[in-house]
């Protein structure tokens, strides 16, 4: 401020005039405006983009969910009817069960494996650490669609690799997309393959933030590496672990591409909707069926509420662990 125009001496070239506001006071006004408003301008790009692509669609979706909405025709206000319909919609609950089932199958083994791998990579005796850390992250770089297509081929009924392997040990070929458990397993394996490395790296970073003195002290006290893992690494890692769980929750609740491509693009997800996830059901109701766009919007908001709810549970867990 002190450097600004307010303290500058009056310009000798401009004779003072009684009526016209001098350049000085105009400068002061500009300056005041600048101080007051330009910070908003600097942050504006983010808010403009967030408003256009984040907030507006959300509000609009909420508005749509209160209507009987035909994508290419009319719409009429129906209040919360779409939401009450959700509660008695068998296929919504089916999609919810599928989503949580696949979520459990993909998150629990994935995080356990990530924990194990992170612990392994954290060991001092390991050689070529950087190589392994890079290598374990590689699957995450591959596009989801490519992963889903390749895994879809591996899990094919007639010519798939897994059925061929099974046939070597005398097991009958499995119709992977024909049953609930097998389709869940196949889809979870895609998610696991893609995200285990990512979670490993985050957990590894968390582990490296744990002070070394703790381990040294424990070692002097005669604690085995196993005991050190249980009593030092795990408790200290809890906040990182919860963070990883929240990320997996958000990803898991929105699972879409993998099951869709596993079903060869059929939005139903299996002939009896064995692996139709919530996101797929939202797409079916909101985009594929032109006349139920309002109901699809309600499903979208239901997904949002579920994510908030699950994240809240996680948040409470963090708070408890902090105490």
């Amino acid at each position: 401020m002190s450097l600004s125009a307010t303290t500058a001496p009056p310009s000798p070239a401009a004779p003072p005039s009684p009526h016209v506001p001098s350049g000085r006071s105009r400068g002061r006004l500009l300056n005041r405006l600048d101080v007051k408003y330009s910070p908003y301008l600097y942050v504006a790009p983010f808010f403009v983009i967030f408003g256009a692509f984040g907030l507006y669609p959300m509000v609009r979706t909420a508005w749509m969910s209160l209507h009987d909405w035909d994508m290419i025709g009319d719409h009429s206000f129906i209040g919360f009817d779409n939401y009450t319909r959700l509660f008695s919609d068998e296929y919504f609950w089916n999609a919810l069960v599928n989503t949580f089932g696949i979520f459990a199958l993909s998150t629990i083994p994935q995080l356990l494996l990530a924990l194990f791998l992170a612990n392994l990579l954290n060991r001092t005796f390991l050689r070529a650490k950087t190589f392994f850390r890079m290598a374990i992250f590689m699957p995450n770089v591959v596009s989801v669609a490519a992963v889903a297509i390749v895994f879809g081929m591996l899990f094919q009924r007639e010519f798939g690799l897994f059925n061929w392997l099974l046939s070597l040990v005398g097991v009958d070929p499995v119709d992977w997309d024909g049953q609930r458990w097998s389709s869940w397993f196949a889809i979870s394996s895609m998610v696991n393959w893609r995200w285990t490395g990512y979670n490993t790296l985050i957990l590894l970073a968390g582990m490296q933030a744990i002070p070394k003195d703790l381990y040294e002290a424990a070692a002097i006290d005669g604690a085995s590496p196993w005991r050190q893992f249980w009593q030092i690494t795990l408790p200290m890692l809890k906040p990182t672990f919860i963070f990883v769980v929240i990320l997996s929750t958000i990803g898991g609740m929105q699972l879409f591409t993998e099951p869709l491509l596993f079903a060869n693009g059929n939005i139903l997800g299996g002939s009896q909707r064995e692996f139709q996830t919530l996101a797929m059901y939202m797409y079916e109701m909101g985009i594929v069926n032109l006349n139920s766009a309002g109901y699809g919007a309600a499903v979208a908001w239901a997904i949002f509420m579920i994510i908030v709810l699950v994240s809240l549970v996680n948040f409470l867990l963090v708070r408890r662990s902090a105490k």
Partner: protein, 429 residues
């Protein structure tokens, strides 16, 4: 001094940048606003798959001086969402838009999205297959679409596999094996026996597709568009015929990797082919299998799978000229040329009688006279009323239930229950 002025300048630049982005977005769409009554410089045509219009529009450009831009989308699955976006936002649609059967019916309840062609073109009602012409009309009498092609059915079969299993291979004898669906099933059982238990057809949903259009009355909807899926005798007939074929089916869902891979592997020896499917069969089977496929007639007479219309969106700036172009593209001469180029089967009666069409033989399919075979099959298609969400009921209620039965996930009664329940929710419009 310097700090504030730099700040102010930066802020101004930021503001300018933002308004520039806004300005850019605003001027993106109105570059070709027409002056009233002026002849359009360019008409846009939206199609999916292959309509075979490339050479035809060149001629049109020469004749009229109007440039035609063909916008092709490879897959119908990508085409539909685009179209929905154009209609929902009221901009972006082409002047002439190809509508596939399922899409057309689905769009009919909102017919005002489409220009009424009645006042814009001459009366062509007598020139096309009558049922096909009727389907182009909306319930309010508006003429939405001019017929392009039809998906009349034939049976594609593998001669080498038939021979190995002791079945006849010559196309007339093969057609004689199955005057009706029972004959088809018997042939399938015989093939299974002769080939050591191999499957005969790709899937039972292919069968239901064939049976449905053989004229047993209304399908999922009655004439007033009430859903009658659970009581319709035509649907029940298709269901019973399809489910009876489960023992000779390879259970390969159409378009799945099992299905497309099955052509090369010979997991099934026969499939139902609309004319447009021939290209897909030859592509999936590969050049190595050239001459091993042949085409026979479909059991129980004609059948229909797919087919399209040309429509003019109400948002087109040149409805009159667009309608004229649609008229040109669907006339007899254009339809024969399109057939020769890419295989869509004509619906124009004059085109169906055309020498070049009838005499056409397909080299990949052992020189089968596909023009003649499909031409005869077209004549046998029974006019059928299709409700607004016919496609959704077929694809998301009937076929999943059939697949559930076929793969043993549900018994016949349970699968039927699944179908009738889903038909009600899928069929609402």
């Amino acid at each position: 001094m310097s700090v504030t002025t730099r700040r102010t300048r930066l802020a101004a630049a930021a503001l300018a940048a933002i308004t520039a982005i806004g300005g850019l977005a605003a001027c993106g769409n109105d570059d070709d606003e027409p002056a009233a009554g002026e002849k359009p410089a360019k008409l846009v045509v939206d199609t999916f798959g292959e309509f075979g219009y490339d050479d035809i529009v060149k001629q049109y450009e020469k004749d009229t001086g109007i440039k035609v831009e063909l916008r092709k989308t490879a897959q119908l699955a990508e085409y539909r969402p685009k179209l929905v976006r154009y209609l929902a936002t009221g901009k972006g649609a082409a002047d002439v838009t190809a509508l596939e059967e399922g899409i057309l019916n689905e769009f009919k309840p909102n017919a005002r999205n489409w220009a009424d062609l009645n006042p814009l073109v001459a009366d062509h009602s007598k020139e096309f297959l009558p049922w096909k012409w009727e389907l182009g009309k909306a319930p309010d009498g508006r003429l939405i679409g001019l017929p392009t092609d039809v998906g009349s059915l034939a049976v594609c079969y593998r001669k080498d596999l038939f021979q190995a299993a002791g079945l006849p291979t010559e196309r007339d004898q093969v057609s004689a094996l199955w005057p009706d669906w029972k004959g088809f099933h018997d042939a399938g059982l015989k093939y299974k026996q002769g080939s050591g238990g191999k499957a005969f057809i790709d899937s039972i949903t292919a069968v239901s597709n064939g049976v449905m259009f053989q004229g047993n009355g209304d399908l999922f909807y009655d004439k007033e568009d009430n859903i009658i899926a659970d009581t319709s005798p035509a649907v029940k007939n298709a269901w019973d015929t399809a489910t009876s074929m489960a023992d000779i089916s390879a259970k390969a869902q159409t378009w799945s990797p099992e299905w497309s891979g099955g052509f090369k592997q010979g997991t099934f020896a026969a499939t139902f082919c609309p004319s447009w499917m021939l290209g897909i069969v030859s592509e999936n089977s590969g050049p190595a299998n050239k001459g091993k496929w042949d085409v026979a007639s479909v059991p129980g007479g004609g059948g229909n799978w797919g087919g399209s219309w040309l429509a003019v969106p109400a948002q087109s700036k040149y409805p009159k000229e667009a309608a004229k172009l649609a008229e040109y593209l669907t006339n007899a001469k254009s339809q024969v040329e399109a057939f020769k180029a890419k295989g869509p089967l004509p619906t124009n009666l004059e085109a169906l009688k055309n020498e070049a069409f009838i005499g056409y033989t397909n080299e990949y399919f052992s020189n089968a006279p596909t023009g003649k075979i499909f031409g005869e099959s077209v004549a046998k298609i029974q006019p059928t009323h299709l409700g607004p969400k016919h496609q959704a009921v077929k694809e998301n209620a009937l076929e999943p239930a059939l697949r559930a039965f076929e793969s043993g996930q549900a018994d016949k009664a349970k699968a039927w229950e699944q179908f009738t329940k889903d038909a009600k929710t899928q069929g609402v419009f």
